[in-house]
Amino acid sequence: MTDFENRARSAGAALRDWTPDGSAPTPDTAVRRAVHRTRVHRATAGGLMVAVLGGVGLLWGPTRGDDVRTSPATSTDDVTTTTEAPDPTTPTTATADPDPGADPAEPVGTTTPTTATPTTTAPPEEPASTSCTGQVAGTGITFTATVPAGWHTNEAAMGEPGCHHFGPQPVELRPTETEAGVGVASNAVVQLFVSQGPGVPIPFDEWVVVMAEQSNVTDFRRDTVDGHAAARLEQVTSPGDDVPEGGERYAHWIIDLGDVWFDAVTTSEPGVSYEESVAAIDQIVTSLDLTG
């Protein structure tokens, strides 16, 4: 047996002998998570059904938008974000005018929802959307993005800029080991990042043609985001790429900002359905207001 083989077997034995101290999670923990996830998926599907039925009801009901009168939001001097006016087809939601004092040049990555004061007695409301400001790394470009209703974004921390990670739960950044050292991971579902720095190796138009022909791309379209050329695609992994059965789905936006490409990506994550993730990424990206 060679020295290497001895060392490999010794390292293998050390790994098998390793008995982690502390209490291990029980089977019930995994089962609860599985059950919760199934319920969330069912609730999402049920919510979509209710929304569809509600939409049908509105079509047959009175004229839309006449049901509720709402007041504008109150705002404070240090608010850097705004509450968006909700869909007029949702009559019980309080609306709020965008804060005219909001300054996109405020410190990057802060998010403070503006207070919205309903003037009607209405059933419990859906949380309103907020927006956040961020900066495209390596450029002088700043942006504002809508944070979907009920979702959260990250504050700048650990070298990671704010307004880049979005999720239905409060976004937490944490250092974690990777193959290239230690990076930052998060519990976010949608991430923004710069995929191509200065000196992009392939023109955007050529890349678009190549990507549109990939066999695992299930949906592809060219688009524009705030006047910049962009592409939106959805992919599904092949068996063995991710889970054994394959079928993991990803939605991806790429925006051509000239010197850099600014990307957004999402996939199905625990506690949120793929459909909700896709709706969120589409809302975030199409809301981008790029300046500079």
Binding site: A11, A14, G159, G181
Partner: protein, 185 residues
């Protein structure tokens, strides 16, 4: 501890404990008990982080429960678990490296490694394994770390046993060179 009264009377405070409606089948619990530690070691070999390893193993069992009707019919559910685990580990690494690329462009400096669970020599070996190409690293962790024969490694990886032997050969060549260089330096 105060003795529990046998009967309820007026004015007595009663705490109602609602038991979560969770059905953990005996077979699932048995599989969990027997496979949790081996899977945790595989995950640790692949990630080098206990916290990440625990999260990956939990997620593996979540998916196992979600597919339990199918998994319980398998002759070797452990092979299915290993396959899910190594794919989840790869998926996680891919996602993290996406974020890391963004961080690198921001000029963020990676911090130092986390606390190690094994001795220095063995940690160095598994750290070198993690720098191998994905399939080679998976084959090494399953073969040396989980002590599986190549046929079982092949089943867990979803490939032929000959492919596993080829991957192990490539990995041994690379690792011998890397570890030798590290020791000399």
């Amino acid at each position: 501890m105060a003795a529990q009264p046998d009967t309820l009377t007026a004015g007595m405070t009663v705490r109602v404990v609602r038991t979560p409606r969770v059905r953990t089948t005996p077979m699932f619990s048995s599989l969990y008990q027997s496979e949790f530690q081996p899977l945790l070691r595989i995950a640790y070999g692949l990630t080098g982080s206990r916290a990440e390893a625990e999260e990956l193993v939990q997620e593996t069992f979540v998916r196992c429960y979600q597919h339990w009707r199918r998994v319980e019919t398998y002759d070797k559910p452990g092979a299915w678990l290993r396959r899910v685990l190594i794919n989840l580990a790869y998926s996680r690494r891919r996602k993290l490296s996406t974020e890391l690329r963004a961080l690198t462009r921001l000029g963020a400096r990676p911090a130092g490694p986390g606390a190690s669970e094994l001795g220095d020599v063995d940690e160095a070996f598994w750290a070198a394994v993690r720098r191998l190409p994905r399939r080679q690293a998976q084959a090494v962790v399953l073969y040396y770390g989980d002590d599986l024969p190549t046929e079982d490694v092949a089943q867990a990886m979803g490939c032929a046993a000959g492919t596993v032997r080829a991957l192990l050969h490539q990995a041994r060549t690379t690792l011998a060179k890397v570890l030798d260089t590290e020791e000399q330096s």
